[in-house]
């Protein structure tokens, strides 16, 4: 078995470490590029959402490098994500690729099937090996997100534009040549130190923008047209409510404090959207309220074109914006690679916030 998985931001770094610790041969897909998008759109149903197409492109590129098994998480909610793995494997087989698709659905849906898939995935490894690999890979998820969090902080404040991204690019190139959790951990530490050294502008107070929306679009920079980097280069401190470590900690790890915190945040969204409608619509609304409470200056919702849960959230957000007095903009992405229109909107949004801030100086800010 040669394993692969779809890309989602920097998720490939801990995922690769985990499977390598397990002793499973893994081929992470090449970074998402125009070619990935082209392959994906060519073979996907035209009307399906963008993440589906990028996933499919990833698989094909990985298979051509030698992968024969794909692992993907599943879902049985009302959102189309639940169909991804099932439809994608059909498409791949029709294209003549003999691949196996291991879909990991939530345990409450089909427990025996999940166990069967996990057993296949584990290749008969004993429990000790698996738990050892998990224990080694889990800190990497968190370290990796911490590195990118630091990058966001530095990018908004860096003295010389581009310093932060240069270091990140070097880091990403370096991960390709390193195998195993220990090596990756060392690399993460090394680049974190380097990032810390990036000189900052003295006394600069950035504006704060919170990103909410569909999880994949938020996390995968190719798909969201590098929104984090673009805002960062405009001198904005960005935070997003979805991270890989957040997902792992609230779904896989027994991180009780974070789960409770998340529950409290979700409860605040209740008056606007009282139930789960699939995807992360509830989180989008609840976290928008949370950002407003923390004193953020603006919120941007990011979603793929025609994403059902986020479309619902989009129509609720103007009420949140009005009640909480915070500007909210929606950013819909599709197969576009020309980013002119997006840059205009981001720049205008930042301008608007700056003007607003000049008007009501002295509002309290939450730092943290």
């Amino acid at each position: 078995m040669v394993l692969t998985f779809p890309h989602m931001g920097q998720m490939y770094i801990p995922a690769k470490a985990f499977f390598e610790e397990m002793g499973i041969e893994t081929i992470p897909p090449p970074p998402v590029t125009k070619k990935t998008l082209e392959l994906g759109t060519k073979y996907s149903p035209e009307l399906v959402c963008l993440p589906f197409k990028i996933n499919l492109g990833n698989y094909i590129e990985s298979i051509e490098k030698g992968a024969d098994t794909i692992v993907i998480t599943g879902s049985c909610g009302p959102c189309r994500f639940g169909l991804y793995g099932i439809v994608q494997v059909e498409i791949l087989r029709e294209l003549g690729y003999d691949v196996d698709m291991l879909i990991l659905d939530p345990p409450r849906e089909d427990y025996p099937k999940l166990m069967e898939n996990l057993k296949k995935l584990g290749e008969g490894k004993d429990f000790k090996t698996v738990s050892r690999a998990a224990r080694k890979a889990a800190p990497i998820v968190i370290m990796c997100d911490k590195l990118y969090e630091l990058a966001v902080y530095k990018r908004a404040r860096e003295k010389t534009k581009g310093d932060t991204d240069r270091i990140l690019n070097e880091f990403e190139a370096a991960t390709e040549k390193i195998h195993g959790a220990d090596g990756i951990a060392k690399l993460l530490k090394q680049y974190k130190e380097e990032l810390k050294q990036v000189p900052e502008k003295k006394g600069y107070k950035p504006i704060y923008i919170g990103l909410v929306g569909e999880i994949y679009t938020l996390i995968e920079p190719y798909v969201n047209l590098n929104i984090e980097q673009k805002l960062g280069l405009l001198g904005v401190h960005v935070d997003r409510n979805m991270r890989v470590d957040w997902w792992v900690r609230t779904h896989l790890l027994p991180d009780i404090p974070l789960r409770i915190k998340e529950k409290i945040i979700l409860r605040r969204g209740q008056p606007y959207l009282g139930m789960c409608i699939g995807g992360h619509a509830r989180q989008t609304i609840a976290h928008s309220i949370d950002y407003a409470r923390k004193g953020y200056d603006g919120i941007i919702q990011v979603m793929p074109f025609a994403c059902m849960p986020e479309v619902v959230a989009q129509s609720i957000l103007p009420s949140v914006s009005k009640d909480k007095g915070i500007p909210i903009m929606t950013f819909t992405v599709d197969e576009l690679t020309g980013d002119g229109g997006y840059n205009t909107r981001l720049e205008a949004f930042v301008d608007t916030i700056k003007q607003r801030k000049r008007k009501d100086k002295g509002r309290k800010r939450y730092n943290g």
């Binding site: 970074p31 581009g162 240069r166 190139a173 103007p318 720049e347």
Partner: protein, 321 residues
Amino acid sequence: MGECELYLGIDVGSVSTNIIVMDKNLNVLEKNYIRTQGRPIQILKESLMELSSNLPLRSTIAGVGCTGSGRELAGAIVGADVVKNEITAHGMAAITFLPDTSTVIEIGGQDSKMIIIRNGIITDFAMNTVCAAGTGSFLDRQASRLNIPISEFGELAEASKAPVRIAGRCAVFAESDMVHKQQMGYEVEDIVKGLCIALVRNYLNNVGKGKEILPRVVFQGGVAANRGIKNAFEDMLGTEITVPEHYDVMGALGAAILAREETKKSKITKFRGFERLKDDFISTSFECNGCPNMCEIVEIKIGNQIVARWGDRCGKWAEAQ
């Protein structure tokens, strides 16, 4: 009296390129509205050259501002003091000329915007670039299909007594609806008015979704010349719509105003001068092979000197100028 200080505002849109020259008291001396025709560099050079010969003697350009989707390109060619997005530029112009503006409706060739202003500050905006049904190009196309000059479109709509309902959600639906109604024998003016109403309905539902539209409402952009659209807005919003004197070049005007602010601080303009515009500008593009992103890099050269590069994600080309 010394030399007269002038400010240049350039708005390079996808369909038209607008250039204005104003003095420091906001009097517009020159106004140039031309089609971009897919050749922004050449069009810009030609019209600037033409403009320079019309300027008063003993005058200097004290500041240049660029806006529109081609703003980076234009900024690199002329040497701009300010390169700003269209929203800020349009909003700035409206606030400067009509300080009590609360809402700006702007419909251009390829996009439409709504800018919400409160107490002289842009507080919110919406912009639509994906949908063609709410833009000037669509009106243009339908006018030519009906064989009506676009300048008479508005008058014709005003003559209608019983507008036909046209689907406005999507340009494709609208067009097939129009063809269908025309084949059923409806009057052209009723179809035209129906189209105006459909466009306004689509704009308000799409761009104006969830926005509080308060008077004074200012209507800018090329489409503001169309009285049919203006009337449809007035009917639907139940408020008077103001079309400013320079409605068609408000973006360029805003850019010039921003340039005036900027040069007040910097004291010196980055404008290259009209003479340098005679030089050959060469724009080339290539694919970077540094990583699998394969970014398309655009490079602008004057002679052998590289004046600007963009298109890269990592910034290595933009830096290496």
